[in-house]
């Protein structure tokens, strides 16, 4: 052997890859071109212009801006939040005066109404006295109940999604599927489920199952099953093959290999995906409530259509708080599991 020499031999060419290649610059220009064309189609220029004028109007207080007007209108109509609830006593079935709900009291209110007197054909001022049950935290409680219902819908949507996606994931992982046909069929089902947004399937499921949480749960479950099926399957495919081979060598079948060599490896990822799906299902559950699939969304839609914007504001704050709490809890849970 020759001793190592400094300097390169002349016969072989050593060339380090260049940082900037012609191909790279071309690709960069192509991406910029695509962004420019698509940006014009979705009116990004106007967006910047409107936002800039809104900012300048807010800052200087001069001129007019459509965006600033709209936003301030929203702000003033949402504030203050609706916390209490007032119900006419006469409309409450089986009302028991001796046992009022927590913090509630009864108020007597007199209301002046103008009615047409049929005899004199003149407008009479009639004063009506009615008793009202006033619950200072009534609407807040109502929102909380609806939020819990939404959480229940999200939870069951997730549970059913897991049940559907586990067998689908097994068959749509190329290293586990018994044959090519089953693999293709399972993959197509997973893609199909993922391709249909919850809102769309909820529209149809409401027709089939009627208004209420069943349609919501199923709509969430079907979409999330497509999502989980894809990610579960990809994790099965990417799992370390050495333990799998070791178990195959001692005569374990596919299911045993999955349980002993793959499941322990993919478990943290599975929990992470599932927590994400739970979080996402909660947010989507509020959206599909809009089409009548139960939960806080249905309440939101109802209040919005009745122009009760103070109620809407309470609901929005409630949703935000719940999402925040779920996020904190899942982060804590994941830290403990990894």
């Amino acid at each position: 052997m020759n001793p190592p020499r400094a300097g390169l031999s002349q016969e072989t060419q050593w060339a380090y890859p260049k940082a900037l290649s012609l191909k790279g610059i071309g690709l960069f220009c192509l991406i910029i071109a695509i962004l420019l064309v698509t940006g014009r189609n979705v009116e990004m220029g106007r967006m910047v212009q409107l936002t800039a004028s809104a900012v300048s109007v807010t800052a200087t207080g001069q001129g007019e801006s459509q965006v600033a007007q709209g936003l301030s209108k929203i702000g003033t109509s949402l504030w203050p939040l609706q916390i209490s609830e007032t119900t006419e006593v006469g409309r409450i079935e089986g009302f028991d005066r001796a046992r009022l709900p927590w913090l509630a009291h009864i108020e007597t209110r007199t209301k002046q109404t103008q009615t047409l007197n049929p005899d004199t054909l003149q407008m009479d001022s009639v004063s009506e006295t009615a008793e009202y049950l006033v619950e200072p935290l009534g609407y807040l409680r109502h929102v909380a109940v609806k939020l819990v219902e939404t959480l229940e819908i999200a939870l069951w949507g997730t549970v059913i999604a897991i049940l559907i996606s586990l067998p689908l994931a097994f068959f749509s992982a190329s290293n586990m599927a018994p044959n090519r046909l089953i693999y293709t069929v399972a993959r197509s089902i997973v893609s199909f489920l993922r391709a249909i947004p919850e809102l769309v399937s909820a529209l149809f499921l409401v027709l089939a199952y009627g208004f209420g949480p069943i349609a919501g749960v199923l709509a969430l479950a079907l979409h999330a099953a497509g999502f989980l099926g894809k990610f579960y399957a990809e994790d099965i495919e990417n799992a370390d093959t050495k333990p799998q081979e070791a178990l195959t060598a001692v005569g374990a079948n596919r299911i045993k290999v999955l349980r002993f060599a793959i499941l322990p490896q993919v478990m943290p990822q599975y929990i992470a995906y599932t927590l994400y799906v739970l979080d996402r299902n909660f947010r989507m559950a509020t959206v599909i409530g809009l089409v009548g699939a139960g939960g806080i969304g249905q309440e939101l839609k109802g209040r919005f259509d009745m122009y009760n914007y103070h109620h809407v504001a309470t609901i929005l704050v409630g949703i935000f708080c719940t999402v925040f709490v779920i996020d904190q809890l899942s982060a804590r849970l994941r830290r403990r599991l990894f």
């Binding site: 081979e245 178990l247 195959t248 001692v250």
Partner: protein, 253 residues
């Protein structure tokens, strides 16, 4: 040289060509006697692993046959073969995130019904056996709950050996069992493997690349070079020149 005893594992003109055209084995033939400790020696890429993987069907020879107890290893008899043959791996083949207890049960999966395996309801005699084996390889009860990934390399290979003994195999195939361990631990692991095999009368086929370890522990040494057998001999008949011959290669063209 094995004329006195019937061959336990026999290789007959085993050749293996990979789909990319690499010829890993070129007509290898030799016999291993029952209860013998046979070491395959050879540099990286000499076909040691492929040869071992042909024994339990992880690889299939392109031509030639492997015999166990005079019966050819074919796909049809693989389930029976795999109950008789256990394997020890270079990278241990353990699931790092699973506990040592779970990993041990992995070695007995062929005998555990699928539903019991899925639910984790292992038969009591296997649980007892796992504990006994872990004790015999020098681990202590607190290791049972630990994740395999938290153990040291030597401890992991001890688990690997104990796992290989779960179903009382007749043959152990060890693919570079000490290649990822330091020299002192390698020595301990080889002694453990040797002792465990002798105690149970298990035939061992072990690939190594450390000549010193091979000379110390083997009954029989098989030398491989670029897929071809260059010697097959009881260890006492080999000279220093024989050993230096397998690593003294002319540079590859």
């Amino acid at each position: 040289m094995t004329a006195s005893k019937p061959a336990h594992v026999g290789f007959r003109a085993v050749s293996k060509t990979f789909p990319d055209g690499t010829q890993a084995l070129k007509g290898v033939s030799f016999d291993v006697a029952r209860g013998a400790f046979c070491v395959l020696l050879g540099p990286s890429g000499s076909g040691k692993s492929t040869l071992l993987r042909c024994v339990n069907g992880l690889a299939t020879p392109t031509s030639g046959e492997v015999f166990i107890d005079g019966e050819a290893v074919t796909d049809k008899v693989l389930p029976q073969i795999r109950r008789k043959v256990s394997m020890i791996h270079q990278q241990f083949g353990l699931v790092d995130r699973a506990s040592v207890a779970e990993n041990m049960m992995g070695g007995a999966l062929a005998e555990i019904p699928t539903w019991r395996a899925l639910l984790g309801l292992y038969p009591d005699h296997f649980k007892t056996k796992a504990c006994e084996l872990l004790q015999s390889v020098g681990l202590s009860p607190e290791h049972l709950q630990r994740r395999a990934g938290d153990l040291s390399g030597g401890q992991r290979q001890r688990v690997g050996i104990a796992r290989a003994l779960m179903l009382d195999p007749q043959i152990i195939v060890a693919d570079e069992p000490v290649a990822s361990l330091d020299p002192r631990i390698s020595q301990e692991i080889m002694e453990l493997l040797r002792q465990a095999a002798r105690l149970r009368g298990v035939t061992v086929l072990c690939s190594l690349h450390q000549v010193a370890l091979a000379r110390e522990h083997a009954d029989q040494i098989v030398g491989l070079q670029r897929g071809a057998l260059i010697f097959d001999s009881p260890v006492e008949n080999l000279s220093d020149d024989d050993f230096s011959a397998i690593y003294d290669l002319e540079p590859l063209a």
